[in-house]
């Protein structure tokens, strides 16, 4: 069990490193998906199978697809890769790495001080989650729906373009689809209570 935990942890970190260092956006996305999948494994190990499933379906599935759509649509080719290469001079990394290193050091410090006793992993059943969600967190759900509503309207407004302004009808279609999909996808996740309140 622990072994699995550490392996998937290592994979996640490695994949993330790859994600942020890739020049090609599609490559990076693929690494990111790997990372997400390994995190899903970790979730599972931590006793959250429902979340693990959601991670795979929504995160790796829906959100990443969204990204890929956009990247593909923009058709970032060789040129973009070149440019990225130029932008990413080694010097660029130093500052952020120092910051991040300190951050990690701090986190490591605070995690190492009190030895984390790893409890026997107990599963928290999806049922419990569901009960909590529609019990104490009912208002939270309602609010989340408002959140999504806001996102929907916002994305719609920004994405919408008048037909005569179009230069690239294809892209527009993709846009609209994506925007709608974005809303729908998530809504599908937990059954939006219509009408809110």
């Amino acid at each position: 069990m622990y072994l699995l935990f550490y392996i998937s942890g290592a994979v996640a970190i490695l994949a993330t490193v790859m994600t942020i260092t890739r020049l090609n956006a599609v490559h990076a996305l693929l690494y990111f998906v790997v990372s997400l999948l390994s995190i899903a494994v970790i979730f599972y190990i931590l006793g959250a199978p429902f979340i693990a499933a959601l991670e795979v379906i929504i995160y790796a599935g829906a959100i990443m697809v969204l990204f890929i759509f956009v990247v593909m649509m923009l058709n970032l080719g060789e040129r973009a890769v070149e440019m990225e290469g130029k932008w990413l001079s080694p010097g660029m990394w130093i500052g952020p790495e120092i910051l991040a290193a300190i951050l990690i050091a701090e986190v490591v410090y605070l995690l190492s001080r009190p030895p984390v006793e790893v409890h026997a992993i107990q599963y928290v059943e999806p049922r419990e989650v569901g009960l909590a969600l529609f019990g104490p967190y009912l208002i939270g759900v309602e609010l989340a729906s408002m959140l999504l509503l806001g996102a929907l309207v916002g994305a719609y407004h920004l994405g919408y373009r008048k037909p005569e302004a179009l230069e690239n009808p294809d892209a527009d279609n993709t846009d609209a689809t994506r925007a709608a999909a974005g809303g729908d996808l998530v809504r599908a996740g937990h059954d939006r209570p219509a009408g809110a309140a």
């Binding site: 970190i13 490193v17 942020i20 931590l46 959250a48 959100i63 989340a144 999504l148």
Partner: protein
């Protein structure tokens, strides 16, 4: 992972990567909640993750919409090019 996301945020100029980095950070935060929830054996952590998920999705949708706008108007995704305003 959180730190890596941070690095990505700071280093990459391409808006796509910036958004991705944010996703990484959010994911890391979610992971932390799950871990904490597991630690206390409560459902709360998972509930929180769900909300994070919703938020990440909305964030990405609006973010990508903006990204498209930017690309259509300027043809680049460089965050630094969008620095008209300063001082």
């Amino acid at each position: 992972m959180f730190a890596l996301g941070t690095i990505g945020l700071l280093v990459r100029r391409n808006l796509v990567f910036t958004l991705m980095s944010i996703e990484i950070m959010l994911n890391a935060a979610g992971l932390a909640f799950i871990a904490a929830g597991a630690h206390w054996v409560q459902a709360d952590g998972q509930v929180m993750f769900l909300f994070i998920l919703a938020m990440a999705a909305s964030e990405v949708s609006v973010g990508l919409a903006l990204l498209l706008r930017l690309y259509h108007q300027h043809g680049v995704l460089d965050t630094d090019s969008a620095s008209e305003m300063k001082g």
